[in-house]
């Protein structure tokens, strides 16, 4: 590795995580097509820079609340790919004992308080995590991820207001990927940017290029620092794009191939690779090697997961109550 400064070393680390997320999701997509993953899933391919840029600004003991499109958040927060893969295959040793699957993937010990099947469902919870941090005086921060669709839910309004009036250490990260299922953000909001709404709550709001991990990271780091220092919440909008459909049933009638290709041309992983190459930190062959390493980690994870036991139906009722 030729990374020449701590900053570049950090960027290489972010590249590794983005490659890991991409390899994980491409494998998950493939496993779904083979009928080996049950139910549905929501892929975040294309959005890796947001999860990685934000989570790189967090301490291990910080919290995140994730969304239905949460694979990237989970890995970026430090989850183990093999325990995630075991969960995707519905295995007893997966993160959620095979009870949650892709849509409820959580790593509570690692500070990921869960993907969420309900749009905006994590936002109210984030206020409580923030309040708990404030009352316990631990200096932690909570990041609440949500999408452009969630910004039109009532819970968004209630939660941002509550976080603002109590100066809670919460960073609200909107992944504006242009579509709430099929509804384009531009038709669902009269304002141009989700971050314009921050003014209504008396908190800073900003919009960054969500396809640029460095831009995301710098904005997130400053919002996290502000929250940790007692400065209160921020609304950070990251403009991004999902390459795949909303879920597995999506025929993508609401967008054209040209649009998808135009966004793919701005791919966050390719851009970071180019940036590192320009800086002389990582050449093409080294970057390819990192991608191969990520793919190997995911293959190992899959081998692990396949060998794991299924849950026993006799244990069906366990963990409904503590």
């Amino acid at each position: 590795m030729k990374a020449t400064s701590p900053d570049l070393a950090r960027l290489v680390g972010m590249l590794r995580t983005m490659l890991l997320i991409r390899a994980f999701e491409e494998k998950a997509d493939e496993l779904f097509a083979l009928g080996r993953i049950h139910g549905t899933m929501h892929l975040s391919l294309g959005q890796e820079a947001v999860a990685v840029g934000v989570c790189a600004a967090l301490r291990p003991d910080d919290y995140i609340l994730s969304t239905h499109r949460g694979h990237g958040h989970c890995l970026a927060k430090g989850a183990e790919p093999h325990l995630m893969m075991a969960e995707f295959l519905g295995k007893e040793t997966g993160y959620c004992r095979g009870r949650g699957g892709s849509m409820h993937i959580a790593d509570v010990r690692g500070g990921n308080l869960g993907a969420n099947g309900i749009v905006a469902g994590g936002l109210p919870i984030a206020t409580g995590v923030g309040l708990s941090i404030q009352m316990r005086r631990t200096g932690q921060v909570c990041v609440a991820f949500f999408g452009d669709g969630a910004a039109n839910e009532g819970a968004f309004h209630e939660s941002l207001n509550l976080a603002a009036i109590w100066t809670l250490p919460v960073v609200f990260v909107c992944e504006n990927n242009q579509y709430a299922m099929s509804m384009p953000a531009r038709r669902a909001m009269r304002v141009e940017r989700v971050s314009d709404r921050a003014a209504a709550y008396g908190m800073p709001g900003l919009t960054v290029d969500g396809m640029d991990v460095l831009a995301v990271h710098e904005a997130a780091a400053s919002a996290v620092e502000r929250a940790r220092a007692g400065g209160g919440p921020t609304l950070l909008e990251c403009v991004t794009y999902r390459y795949k459909g909303h879920s597995k049933s999506d025929r993508q009638r609401y967008r054209g191939r040209d649009e998808v290709e135009a966004w793919r041309a701005r791919d966050p992983i390719a851009r970071l690779r180019a940036r590192l190459a320009d800086a002389g930190a990582l050449d093409e062959a080294e970057a390819d090697r990192l991608a191969a390493e990520a793919a190997a980690v995911i293959e190992d994870a899959l081998r692990f997961a396949e060998a794991q036991p299924e849950p026993d139906p006799a244990a069906l009722l366990e963990d409904v109550y503590a």
């Binding site: 919290y63 609340l65 997966g94 993160y95 959620c96 004992r97 095979g98 009870r99 949650g100 409820h104 959580a106 509570v108 010990r109 308080l113 869960g114 969420n116 099947g117 309900i118 469902g121 936002l123 109210p124 919870i125 984030a126 206020t127 409580g128 995590v129 923030g130 309040l131 708990s132 941090i133 009352m135 316990r136 909570c142 009532g154 819970a155 209630e158 939660s159 207001n161 509550l162 009036i165 366990e318 963990d319 409904v320 109550y321 503590a322």
Partner: protein, 326 residues
Amino acid sequence: MRVVTYAEAVREALRQALADDERVFLLGEDIGVYGGAFGVTDGLLAEFGPERVRDTPISEAAITGCAIGAAVTGMRPVLEIQFMDFMTLAMEQLVLQAAKMRYMFGGTARVPMVLRTPAGSGTGAAAQHSESLEAWFVHVPGLKVVAPSSPADARGLLLASIRDDNPVIFVEHKLLYRTRGEVPEVPAPIPLGTAEVKRAGDDVTVIATSVMVPRALAAAERLAAEGVAVEVVDPRTLRPLDTETLVASARKTGRVVVVYEAVKTLGIGAEIAARIAESEAFYHLHAPIVRLGGQEVPIPYNRRLEAAAVPQEDDIVAAVRQVMAA
């Protein structure tokens, strides 16, 4: 023993929990200076300060989620939802988040929170401030539902609810707030899921919940004068339900009236009647089980109509006579 009101008993339990455990805090609309819409939290702000007795904006979804998030990260919040009717505004957070979080996450999370709420009719507040929705929550695995009928039960059950590691819906009846009863100075928690025989009798079992318990006890007193020995059983916790105690009483008397304020169809009494019918007590029944529930109507404003919408003492007396005659 000293006598306190039901509202005081709730307040005492809150005070005891706040004093005993620094993780406990209260949040809700107008619970601070105002003292709560029904005065239940009166004085606690002065005693424990604004961080632990926390006034919130009118944002039921957010404050419910706030309690969940605090609970899952190590606090033990006690949330007041000002009227049970307003729980409709918090349903998603309660039903899809609080109740399921532990299970969805494979047992790695716990959500030790209590949601207290005043329920029921009889105050002239009409259709949007008089609901009895407890059965909605009983229907959700992951939640516990408690409905005390006396000051002593309110005190002991609230303590147990706050110490429980699960989300507990604690249903207080508005008409009970001013009722009085004996409460020990420092009472023990009452385990959730335990029914209590409030009055013993051999002829007929009246299973009553919440405000219907004092009405059933008054009815039992009148019926005693007619030579009918009524056993009054209060489940106290609706989920988990102490089926064993209910079935044992039904088996002993062979006659059962179930009385509850909520709309009769699919109310808690429907479940209680079904459990008795499914049990071995069925073979000991001398008459069909009678369910006495609320009428199939929104709660009306007019005093006479309002009283007619839910079971009253006279209705319980009549229902008991009916099962005794069968």
